[in-house]
Subunit: 334 residues, 2 copies
């Protein structure tokens, strides 16, 4: 029997502030950006992109951090581990995640590279293209993972993007081991199809060797993982590899995949698609909230769909509406 | 005969970045904030407010700066004068206004107080309550006003808030004199009812002695100016004092007041009021665009109403949609 948990979910990821501007498709082409993807950039490219992009708004981001803030907005007890520098941008990140009610105590760096920023271009179709300067996020190490905090969380949630910074994957593996030692659940999001392309074998190993209990992916990430253009055969392969997965398919809703069954869950309708940034992160927030609170998986997936629908109707990847209220208004309160 | 103009409008105001969070009315009460107003705060109060406010988004603001960005979004040629420090926040302000297509060349301070920030709480009714730390904006002086730039603008637009920093009012008066010397139009917004309360006699003098040709005010600012609770008698008094005025009345639309006539112009309907920040600023943008391009005053007021309706349907006081496109879509292209 597990100990009672202090946290529903502990998230570990890159601590990033988003700098978001609208752009047309020509801008992406002119800057050789892969539409819909996340590219890693160095500081000089970051400066060139910022120089040429339009008026921007700044909102705290980071994939797992967005998920954790979404969880807190649902009323979950949530904690986050990620590395900032104690500069102006890092102070904003820290303020925002703590103000959302998340326990965030990772020591910030006082020197070294600046806090991570993602330069995000939102095209008229609502698609987002991300260019991320990792900066201080690269300094996350196993020393930042506290055994007691991991053991105190029902679910430890990790982002695939952690494979990019050099030491973060060790932090990731340490957290996963500690979670299982405490009989907790380990969840992973594949993050991005290009990220899957960079670390396919390692991600497959994590899924197959049981390091990961619950996998989040969207359609293109899943296809990339199994190197197939055929969605159904990717799902079949996945069913043999993982205990539980939630596969998001934008307006087509999602599939909840377990060894026993595959369940399709519809998306929520949206009035106006503004910015897809954070759609997957907020889906994960709702789904994890449901799983952590022992809801059935259909209910969990509907919570995810509801949170995703909220976040894509405005700029930025953090909810603008209290998700607990939204869940109650839609008959999904837990 | 006037020279042809390089700029439709030159705006002079406090260069501010907005830090916007949602809050309930109890938060305002607990922090002794005057709902709907703009309060000046020092850096220690700024820190206390930031510490206790919710997750925030950062968007460049400043009343006249918002207006000028709105003008650029309509397709006008626009310039701005205002003082930042060359810190992270000041660099964001500078990036955003230049990226909007505005000529902004005021030298930033390399030391001294940090760039101005306004901590804005948006309550569930969409009303915004602003707490402004003026910082570097206090260092605007007459030396920052360039005669050639003023002479090259059809309209010089000034914000009443400039009366707050110690030297800015001298900069204001210098700009007004230079504009009239070049036979240009001087416009003023009264900014805020509490601001009017602080400088009532000076504002009345500016209007009555002809320093101001075109006045912008909302209903409560106008009532404060004439110290009356009766709107109609305030309008009657105004008609005798100013050549031209546009008085905004939220969903009731606006009144265009000249010596000859008073014309009521309806507001545009809004689907969902999200955040009133910038409503007056963007109304001014549309109206000034119309006046600078010799549209009739009804047309100018409709352009203002259209821009105001856009900005109150999302967070932040800068337009998220190209106003030129919006004007064309609504049959208001100039």
């Amino acid at each position: 029997m597990m100990q009672s948990a202090d946290y529903d979910v502990l998230g570990i990821g890159n601590a990033i502030v988003d700098i978001i501007a609208r752009a047309d498709d020509d801008f992406l082409v002119g800057h050789a950006m892969q539409k819909g993807g996340m590219s890693l950039i160095d500081e000089s490219r970051a400066e060139r992109i910022y120089e040429s992009m339009g008026p921007a708004i700044e909102i705290s981001g980071g994939s797992a951090a967005n998920t954790i803030v979404g969880l807190a907005s649902f009323g979950a007890k949530a904690a986050f581990v990620g590395k900032v520098k104690t500069d102006t941008v890092g102070k904003s990140f820290t303020h925002d995640i703590r103000a959302a009610g998340v326990a965030f105590t990772t020591q910030g760096d006082s020197d070294g590279p600046s806090t991570a920023r993602s330069y995000i271009l939102v095209t008229p179709d609502g698609e987002r293209t991300m260019n991320t300067y990792l900066g201080a996020a690269q300094n996350l190490t196993p020393a930042d993972i506290d055994e007691k905090t991991v053991a105190a969380a029902t679910i430890t949630y990790l982002e695939g993007y952690l494979w990019d910074p050099p030491h973060a994957k060790q932090a990731f593996l340490k957290a996963a081991q500690l979670a299982h030692k405490a009989e907790r659940i380990v969840a992973l999001t594949l993050s991005d199809a290009f990220c899957v392309d960079r670390y396919r074998e390692e991600f497959l190993t994590l899924v197959r060797d049981g390091t990961v209990d619950l996998l989040f992916a969207n359609e293109s990430e899943l296809k990339s993982l199994y190197q197939t253009a055929d969605f159904d055969s990717a799902v079949t392969a996945l069913r043999n590899d993982v205990k539980l997965a939630a596969i998001t398919r934008s307006e087509k809703g999602c599939l909840v995949v377990s060894r026993e069954e595959t369940q399709a869950v519809p998306a929520y309708p949206v009035q106006r698609l503004v910015d897809t940034t954070g759609a997957g992160d907020l889906f994960a927030a709702g789904f994890l909230y449901g799983v952590a609170r022992d809801a059935d998986l259909f209910w969990a997936a509907r919570l995810g769909a509801l949170a995703a629908a909220e976040v894509i109707q405005h700029l930025g990847a953090r909810p603008e509406t209290a998700l607990a209220t939204l869940a109650a208004d839609n008959g999904l309160a837990l």
